[in-house]
Symmetry: none
Subunit: 207 residues, 4 copies
Amino acid sequence: MRTTSIVPPPPRKSAILTAALAVFAEKGIESTSIEDICRESQASVGSIYHHFGNKEGIAAALFMQHLDEYWTELITSAKSQSNAQRMIHAMLSAHIGWITSQPDAARYLFSRRQVVSAAHEQAIREYTLSRFRELFDVLKPWFKAGVLRRLPAELYGPLLMGPAQEYAREWLRGCVKLEPRKVIDELALAAWRSLATDPNQSGNRGS
Amino acid sequence: MRTTSIVPPPPRKSAILTAALAVFAEKGIESTSIEDICRESQASVGSIYHHFGNKEGIAAALFMQHLDEYWTELITSAKSQSNAQRMIHAMLSAHIGWITSQPDAARYLFSRRQVVSAAHEQAIREYTLSRFRELFDVLKPWFKAGVLRRLPAELYGPLLMGPAQEYAREWLRGCVKLEPRKVIDELALAAWRSLATDPNQSGNRGS
Amino acid sequence: MRTTSIVPPPPRKSAILTAALAVFAEKGIESTSIEDICRESQASVGSIYHHFGNKEGIAAALFMQHLDEYWTELITSAKSQSNAQRMIHAMLSAHIGWITSQPDAARYLFSRRQVVSAAHEQAIREYTLSRFRELFDVLKPWFKAGVLRRLPAELYGPLLMGPAQEYAREWLRGCVKLEPRKVIDELALAAWRSLATDPNQSGNRGS
Amino acid sequence: MRTTSIVPPPPRKSAILTAALAVFAEKGIESTSIEDICRESQASVGSIYHHFGNKEGIAAALFMQHLDEYWTELITSAKSQSNAQRMIHAMLSAHIGWITSQPDAARYLFSRRQVVSAAHEQAIREYTLSRFRELFDVLKPWFKAGVLRRLPAELYGPLLMGPAQEYAREWLRGCVKLEPRKVIDELALAAWRSLATDPNQSGNRGS
DNA sequence: AATGAATGAGCCTTCATTCAT
DNA sequence: GATGAATGAAGGCTCATTCAT
C-alpha cells in the first residue's frame, strides 16, 4: 500500500502561481518575462501556457485569488466586532496584518497599478464593488444610528483606507522604518475620526 | 534685437515632452515605445535621442518637472494661510486642483508606480523629502502650539494626503462620477480631524 | 452474432479524419494545428497520435483516400462511354461533379499545393502515374484510330484537365458565380478540340 | 572626387525582396522564417520589419511587383500582334517565356496558392480583374468580328491559360522533362481551338 | 539639430510530440 | 484506446539604441 508519506510536490499549476506572485511583486507584470516565471517555478513555457493561456491569464488568476483572500479577511474581521469604532479598528488591523503577512501579494495588489487586461479589469471592479457592498451591510446599523456619517459613496473607501494604503505603499517599498503594528491604532483613529459623526465618541452609542 | 531676449525653449524639445507625458500617462512608461512618442510628437527617433539621451531621460525630465510644479503649488498654497485648519484645507484644495487641471501629469506622477531608474529614484526621494521638510516648517508653529498632534514622522504623509490620493487615483482612472470640487471639503476635514489634537476645534487656537 | 460482421471503423478515427479534412481544406495543412483538429473532432491529442502517429500521418491518410476516390470516379466514368468525345465529356463531368460534391476534399487535393512529406510525395506521384496509365489504356483505341492526337505525354494532363482545374480552383475559392454544371459542356468541348485530330468531328469515327 | 565607380550594393529593401523571393519560392511563405530571409539577404530582423512591417508585408510587396511585371509582359505581347490567333500564340509564348525566365517569381505566383492576407487578397483580385479587362479590350475586335466565341466571362481565363498553367505548375515543380519552348505551339493551339468560333480557321478573317 | 535606416537581443506565444495514468 | 499535462525548440515581432548623412 502506498501511503505517499512524502507530500507530493505542489501541482504545477499552483507552483506557477506562487512563482509568478514572487516575480510580479518584485518587478511588476510588465517587466516580468515568462522565462522569469519558468525559472522560478521550474515549469516549462508550455506548461505555463497550457494552464493559463497567456501572461495575462496568470496575472488575472493571481489577482482574483489574492483579492478574494484579502476581502474575506477584511470583512470577517469587521463582522467579529459589534461596535463601530472597533469594527473600523479591526478592519485597519486586518488590512495592515494582511499586508504584513503577505507582502508579495500586497505588493502585487496595491503597490503598483498593475495593468490587468480591460476584460479582467471589469471583472475586478465588479467583484470589488460587490464586496464593498457586503462590507457596507455590516456597517449599516451604525449609519442608521447616526454614529457614522452619511457621505458620497465614493468617499468611504478613501477615508477608511486611504491613510493605510498610503502608509502600506511606502512600507511595501521598503523605505519606512516604522513598524506596521505600531501604526494600526493611529490609522484606525484617523479612519474613525473621518467617518464618525462625533469623532470624540467611542462608537459605543447604539449598543 | 530679438523680441524675446531669452531664447525660447526649442519647440521640438518641448513638443517631445508634451507628447511623452500624454503617452506615458495613458500607457505607462514601460508600455510606451520611442516610436509612440515619435508619432505623438512628430519628431524623429534621432531627434528624441539627441535631446534626451534615452527613454529614461525623458521620463526623468518629465517627472522632475511636474513633481516640482506640484510641490511648489502645494507649499505656496499652505503658506498663503495663517491658520492650521485653513492650511490643511488649502493644501488639499491645491492637491485636488492640481490633479484636476493637469490630469495627465497627475496620472504620470501618482496613478501608477512608475519605474524611473534607480538613480533617479534616489534623486526623487531626496527631493520629495526636502520639500516635505519645507512643508513641515510651515506647519511647525501649530505643532509647537499643540494644535497639531505629534506623530511618527512617517504617518504625516498618509494622514494628510492618503484619502486624497486614494480618491485621486480612482478619479484619474475615470471611474468616479463625484466631482473633485465637491470632495475637497470632506478630504480636508478628514485630514484635519486626523491631525488635530482636538478635531472639534477649528484650528484657530494658538493664533 | 453481430449484425455487421465487419468491424465498423472506430468512430474516433474517422471523426478525426473528417475533422482534419475540414480544417485542412480551410487553412491548409501547415496552418492547421493538432489542437485545431482536436477541437473540431472532439478527440484528445493523445487519441490523434494514437491513431495516426503524427500530423503528416493524418495528412497522408486523407490525401490517399480522396485521391483514390477521385481517380476511381474519373476512370469509371471514362470506361462507361464508348466514344472518344463522350469519354472526354464524361471525365470532365466526373471531375466537376466530384469537386462539387466534395468541395473540401477537392480544396484539400487541388486548391493549394499541399506539402505532404517528401516520402509520401513520391508515393503520390507514383500512384497518380499509374492511374494515369490506366486512364490512357481506356483511350488507347482512339489514339490508334487517329481520332486523338499523338502528343508529348506530359501535355495530355494539361490539355485534358487544365481548363477544368483552373476553373475549379477559382470556384473552390468561392469567387466564381457561374454554376459548375453549366460549365461542363464548355470544358469538355475545349478538351475535345485540344485533343482531337479533327476538332470538328464528333469522335464517332473509328467505331 | 569620389565617383563611386563601384556600383553601390542594392539598397537593403530590394535585397530583402530578392532574398524573400528565393526562399518563398523554395519553401513557401509559411515555411519560410524571417531568419531564413535574414540569412539570405544579409539584412537584420529589424531592417526587414522597418521596411515591410511584417512577413505578410514582404509577401504582398513581392506579389504585387511580380504580378505587375507578368501582366505587363502578357498584355504587351498581345498588343504586338494584329491577328487573333497570333495574339493568343503571343500570349502563351509570353506566359511560358516569363515562367521560364523567372522561375522563382513564377513559383511564387502560381505554383502554390500562397496565402497573402485577406486584405491584400482583395487588392490582388481587383488588380487582376482590371488587367484582365485591359487584355479583353485588345481582343475585343475579334469578338465583334465573330472570330472569337462569346462565352461566360469566367471561362476565358481557364480556356486560355488553363493548360499552360497546368503544364507550368508541373514544370516548375521540376518533374517535367519536356522543354517549355517546345510546348508553346501546342498550348497556343489548344487555346485557339478552345476560343475560336471555327478552330480550323487561322484567325485572319476580319483583317 | 534632425532624420530614419539599421541592428540584434529579447519577449510572448505556438505547436508537434511524448508519456504517465 | 483515451486523456491531457508537460516539454522545449522555434517563430514572429518589438524596441531601445546607434550612426551615417
